[in-house]
Symmetry: C3
Subunit: 249 residues, 3 copies
């Protein structure tokens, strides 16, 4: 029987909450090598989410062979929101009855059972992208930046040149410019292979930066008029990646 | 003149807030022996509330003879919500003008005056019920359980057998099972005279568990397809009881 | 170039937030002698706001001559809400392009640019009023009083006589009386030249007391059926004054 136990369910909760902003139903792959993995597109094909909970994140990881399970995010999300920081969470696959059991153990034992979905062969390969800019940024700062930009516009133009990362939100009359230089404590590193410039939807950015509680640092990669990649990593346990299509003017 | 003073108004506030979820207007009985007492039915006749503030809860209790006063919960509730933890609250009955004065003394003095209602002879006797199960449960845990169950269904089936209390919420596809065994720190005691099973409305349970701030422990009593009784007690000062009709399938 | 820097932006933020409840667009006057000043009427001509940020509130105050700038409160308010307590805020006037730059420096640098409005000659002189009562009151207490009164009525009648300040909210059936005597710790001082009585709109009072975070003490002045004046002062840095027309029955 497939059975997994998570001693630190906060990571799982944060992941599910972030993913549920973009995805309605999705296929998880559980495998002995990779742990729990999910690659999904949002319904508008603008953002892809790649979420990996590594085998080392689990205290019990009883997965004899690879399994694919389809889940409806609107069924699992309210259950996951009920998980408290000190709970221990186990997952059991009941393949005969096509069910997933989520067992939450704290001051008392709660078992939630939800149906598995038949999602058919819906697999997305992890895209191979070549970026020209790579920046490590304080994850909270990027969340604040998106809030700043949202006041003014619905797109954020990111420019990397001259050792500086600039984010510009431009409305009809007002604008906001956020600058991250090597002097900003919020910018941990910045590699520019080629000066680059691209615009992204602030609505989507807002959903992506909800994941900033996963890790202190966000790795941002992009190139001119090209997708951007956002990586949040909790070392040895979880990787949460978003790939966001650019807005072309 | 009838005059009562409460040095610890938090209890009164919690009581009014819990009762106001179920009752629109009601009759309070003030008597030298019993203090302040209220027995009321919700408009759908599904839940009964019995609320007693004992004479020992008051620092001043000047009640020469029994009085019955009718109050509209929507008039008194917003006033009671204005009481702060450190305020002292006095009640004065102005029978001549058919008014209740609520005097709140803190950093300054505030006097609210509200009209008494003529409710006629509307007295409910406290029902005599014979339960087969009695459990003392951590009051917060029961509040959490109701939140868990609400995700899945609109009724909660409670089963007591084999030294275990089980709560089941069953939706069309999903379900939640909450188990309280003798090992659960949340279950203080459990007496089962006869294995029992009954369902109750989660909407009503949600309103009832709002009272969980009154006391750390909730006493739950029920029997098969029979009403349940929920007792919250603040020792020597207040008793708040809800009797809830079962849902029969 | 006109440039001002505020090391303590919380005052500015509180001022803008309070003013924005009453005013939609307004003219600020920046002058070497007076600092930043704004006198505006709410659209219904019921309340006037006088707001002064004194030159001593600024760490940099580069204002060669008086300037008048028109601003839309709905453009500046969301930007100002993004200021954190530890940020340093600078303002730069770009007269050529008719723009105001708001530069917020914290963990990183953010520059917001908003257009200046042409408001024409819209100047209000500070009215000369003769009050008969002057009271200094704990600013939080007046905010609480307004919340108490709002439960009952939409007007608050303030009476000063016999060394006492009384506030009365009277509904059809209920009423609330708040009394501040010399014994109330909440009443710092009370000067009554002439017994006075006047009513004011609770909706407007609610908006005015939002400024209570500016200072611990509110100075209230009024007279019979006459405007009331509310002064919130942060010593040597900011003065925020509201003048509110009475409600005449």
């Amino acid at each position: 029987m497939v059975r997994l136990t998570l001693p630190e369910p906060k990571l799982f909760r944060t992941g599910i909450e972030a993913v549920s902003k973009l995805i309605t139903d999705t296929q998880f792959i559980i495998s002995p090598e990779e742990g729990l993995k999910m690659i999904a597109m949002d319904p508008s094909n603008i953002a892809m989410v790649i979420w990996k909970l590594l085998p080392s994140a689990f205290s019990e990881f009883d997965v004899p062979e690879e399994k694919k399970i389809g889940l409806n995010m609107s069924q699992i999300t309210p259950i996951v929101k009920r998980i408290k920081a000190r709970d221990v969470v186990s997952f059991e696959l009941d393949e005969e009855n096509n069910l997933l059991k989520i067992i939450i153990t704290g001051a008392f034992k709660r078992t939630f059972t939800i149906p598995l979905l038949e999602l058919g062969e819906r697999e997305y390969p992890e895209p191979e992208l070549e970026f020209k800019v790579k920046a490590e940024i304080d994850a909270d700062v990027i969340a604040e930046t998106v809030k700043d930009a949202k006041i003014i516009a619905d797109a954020l133009k990111i420019t990397a040149e001259n050792d500086k990362l600039t984010m510009l939100a431009e409305g009809e009359l007002s604008k906001a410019i956020i600058e991250l230089t090597r002097e900003s404590p919020a910018l941990v590193s910045l590699e520019i292979q080629e000066p680059s410039k691209a615009s992204y939807s602030i609505d989507y950015l807002e959903k992506i930066v909800k994941a900033s509680s996963v890790s202190d640092i966000l790795t941002l990669q992009f190139a001119t008029d090209y997708p951007a990649r956002f990586d949040f990593k909790a070392l040895e346990r979880m990787e949460l990646t978003f790939i966001l299509a650019p807005r072309l003017e």
